[in-house]
């Protein structure tokens, strides 16, 4: 296990330090931007408990119901999606995999729509359960298809995921539009947005996300060894089937948390996991660390941009990430960079 526990390289160390610093800056920005004319000093004064600021009801409203939940949700959603993407990439040995591109997000949305329409779900727990059921369905289907396609074709798996997403999306939209759920209400959520985040929802969802994280950390060692091939891993005494089932559960949990909070947000997991893989090609634990850091960074930055770009309107953050992530996907696919990452190092 020497390879896994080697010290951080200089580059990784710098990335970690810089990432944390940037995260702090973005946190401040996120708390300081938005509708309502309160700057960073006001918000932090309030959070640190300055009496003069605590007395300001309007400030309390802005921080407690708008900016703080939104910022926390961005952190939770970003890191969940990034962790799920890293797990999926390593389980399918496909550097392009992520919940959005593989149709898991669409499955979760489909589950949620079923819950909304047929079971009248209105609580965050309900959202979580139905999104989880849908994500599980999507996950099982796409991983099953992946097994059938074989591992020689990363692009085909992505295409299959997109086809699956089309089917799920078609069904979800069909159900929604044929049952008079307000177009306006769902339209925004369907594009992926953090604007409706509530503190209570974040608190409800976070234990599940934590569970997913713990599961991911427990699976790390086995998954890292499985990069050498299933037969090698089995020779080392790893039950590959159980590890795969564990990955399935962990990614389902993480994706469901993200969807229940923010709707389907694509590309952030892919980008974060890809960057993490560039920094640390082998050890999965470290990949998870970097990927969740990058996921938080990307989503938070995108959310700030979404609030700031088209004032006084607001962009759905999922749209913004698709606009930034799609060119990145094109560049990576064109350079064939993903093929070199396939090789076991």
């Amino acid at each position: 296990m020497t390879q896994i526990s080697h010290p951080l390289t200089r580059r990784q160390y710098h990335a970690l330090l810089g990432g944390c610093l940037l995260l702090c800056i973005l946190l401040v920005c996120s708390l300081a931007t938005g509708a309502g004319q309160y700057g960073a000093t006001d918000v932090f004064g309030f959070l640190l408990g300055e009496p003069a600021r605590l007395a300001d009801d309007k400030l309390a409203m802005v921080v407690n119901t708008l900016r703080l939940p939104r910022t926390l949700a961005a952190l939770l959603v970003g890191s969940s999606l990034a962790l799920a993407a890293t797990l999926l990439q390593s389980a399918t040995r496909n550097p392009l995999a992520e919940p959005g591109l593989l149709g898991v997000n669409a499955g979760a949305v489909f589950g949620l729509v079923i819950g909304l329409i047929y079971f009248g779900v209105e609580s965050t727990q309900g959202y979580l359960i139905w999104a989880g059921a849908g994500a599980l369905l999507g996950n099982v289907l796409v991983l099953g298809i992946g097994v059938m396609l074989g591992q020689a074709s990363p692009l085909k798996l992505i295409l299959a995921g997109m086809a699956l997403a089309a089917v799920f999306g078609g069904m979800a939209n069909f159900l929604l539009l044929s049952t008079r759920v307000a177009l306006e209400q769902f339209r925004y959520w369907n594009l992926g947005s953090l604007s409706a985040s509530e503190l209570s929802a974040v608190i409800t969802v976070s234990p599940m996300a934590l569970l997913g994280l713990v599961l991911a950390i427990l699976l790390c060692r086995q998954l890292t060894l499985m990069q050498m091939g299933d037969s090698q891993a089995r020779a080392l005494g790893i039950s590959t089937t159980w590890v795969r089932i564990g990955v399935l559960l962990a990614t389902t949990l993480l994706t469901a948390c993200a969807i229940a909070l923010a709707g389907p947000i694509g590309f952030v997991g892919f980008l974060a996991a890809y960057c993490a893989r560039l920094l640390e090609p082998v050890a999965l634990l470290r990949q998870l660390l970097f990927s969740s850091l990058f996921g938080m960074l990307f989503l938070l930055a995108a959310d700030i941009l979404a609030r700031w770009l088209v004032q006084p309107f607001e962009l759905p953050v999922g749209t913004l990430l698709a606009a930034l992530g799609a060119p990145a996907l094109i560049a990576i696919v064109l350079r064939g960079g993903f093929r070199s990452l396939l090789a076991v190092k």
């Binding site: 074709s153 692009l155 295409l159 299959a160 539009l177 306006e184 698709a322």
Partner: protein
């Protein structure tokens, strides 16, 4: 008349002009045309306010009641006509690009051409024109998207799934830009445009459909002329060159026509996905030939789109569901089947 032509062909002689017609394909085309006409009559007869098929036929023959006249000619006919024209255009464009790139999945709806077209239409509709539907803007966006795609992928014929994934990423990008534009507008303006971006024919009128149908009709001789060299192109560029075809010029011409047709098809009902992919595949399956003639693909496209549109109207009564949602559902299943059938081929 001595029959020296191979079996399965019809020999037509019009004065000095000799024509060899592929019997199976022609019979099939007639059959599909019959199916299309039947479907159209059924589609007209269905909807809120029922009408029997006989009523429809009587009304079309000019012997309907006043109410039926209005229902058929003012309400249902424009929509069915729009769907048919869009379906024909999509089938045509899909067949052209599939043949050109020699990739079954490479169709304008998969590689971003349709999204480019709809982006241009949205842009003009939201910011630049007032009142009328800017269908004429669509070729502009489609051409830009295609240029971007072909700059990114220099030799699309040799890249298989790579080309498709890049095309899909491009459509995601263009779709996001479209959402971006719509997000800055008050919702009042967006209701119909939002449905249109998912592929919707409810608002289609003759003022959009008629000019597009005329342009498609004008392109028909060109397509008939392109059909044969295009068939030779599938043997490979080198072979086609040796057979006396100016390959580069042909490719450029085919691409231009395909983009124009795809854009016009999109302009009517929005970017309806998967029809352009499915139609040529079904056509070539019917013709038991790897390369279906363009018109058969076009007819199949029209049949598929009329079918999906009618299905989405029937299933969702009394609501209106965008047709694109139905085609997305059906087409996604088809794409999965195709991918699974091609299991052995790697990227």
């Amino acid at each position: 008349m001595p029959s020296k032509h191979p079996s399965g062909l019809w020999h037509l002689r019009l004065g000095a002009l000799n024509l060899l017609l592929h019997r199976r394909t022609w019979l099939l085309s007639l059959l599909v045309l019959g199916v299309l006409l039947t479907l159209m009559v059924v589609a007209i007869s269905l909807g809120s306010g029922r009408m029997g098929v006989t009523d429809v036929l009587a009304t079309l023959g000019g012997q309907g009641s006043k109410l039926n006249d209005i229902m058929v000619f003012k309400i249902r006919m424009p929509r069915v006509a729009a769907v048919v024209v869009a379906g024909l255009a999509m089938g045509m464009a899909g067949c052209l690009i599939q043949t050109l790139v020699r990739n079954r999945l490479a169709t304008p709806d998969m590689i971003g051409v349709n999204e480019g077209a709809s982006l241009a239409v949205i842009g003009f509709a939201l910011y630049l024109t007032v009142g009328s539907w800017p269908w004429w803007a669509s070729p502009l966006g489609a051409a830009l998207a295609a240029v971007a795609l072909f700059v990114l992928c220099r030799r699309p014929g040799e890249q298989g799934y790579l080309f498709i994934v890049i095309g899909i990423a491009l459509s995601e990008l263009l779709g996001a830009v479209g959402d971006f534009m719509m997000a800055t507008q008050p919702l009042v303006h967006l209701g119909s445009i939002y449905l249109w971006t998912m592929g919707h024919f409810a608002g289609a009128s003759y003022s959009t459909v008629a000019p597009i149908a005329l342009i498609l009709l004008a392109l028909c001789p060109l397509l008939a002329w392109l059909n044969r060299p295009l068939a030779l192109l599938r043997f490979g560029e080198a072979t086609a060159q040796n057979l006396g075809i100016k390959v580069a010029a042909l490719q450029l011409a085919v691409l231009g026509v395909a983009i124009l047709v795809a854009a016009l098809g999109t302009a009517i009902g929005g970017p309806v996905v998967f029809i352009a992919m499915a139609a040529p595949i079904i056509a070539s399956w019917l013709a038991r030939d790897h390369l279906a003639p363009i018109w058969l693909a076009a007819l199949c496209g029209a049949v598929l789109l009329v079918g999906s549109d009618t299905l989405s109207r029937l299933l969702a009564q009394p609501e209106e569901i965008p047709t694109g949602i139905m085609t997305r559902l059906l087409g996604g299943v088809l794409l999965l089947i195709l991918l699974l059938k091609d299991r052995k081929g790697s990227d």
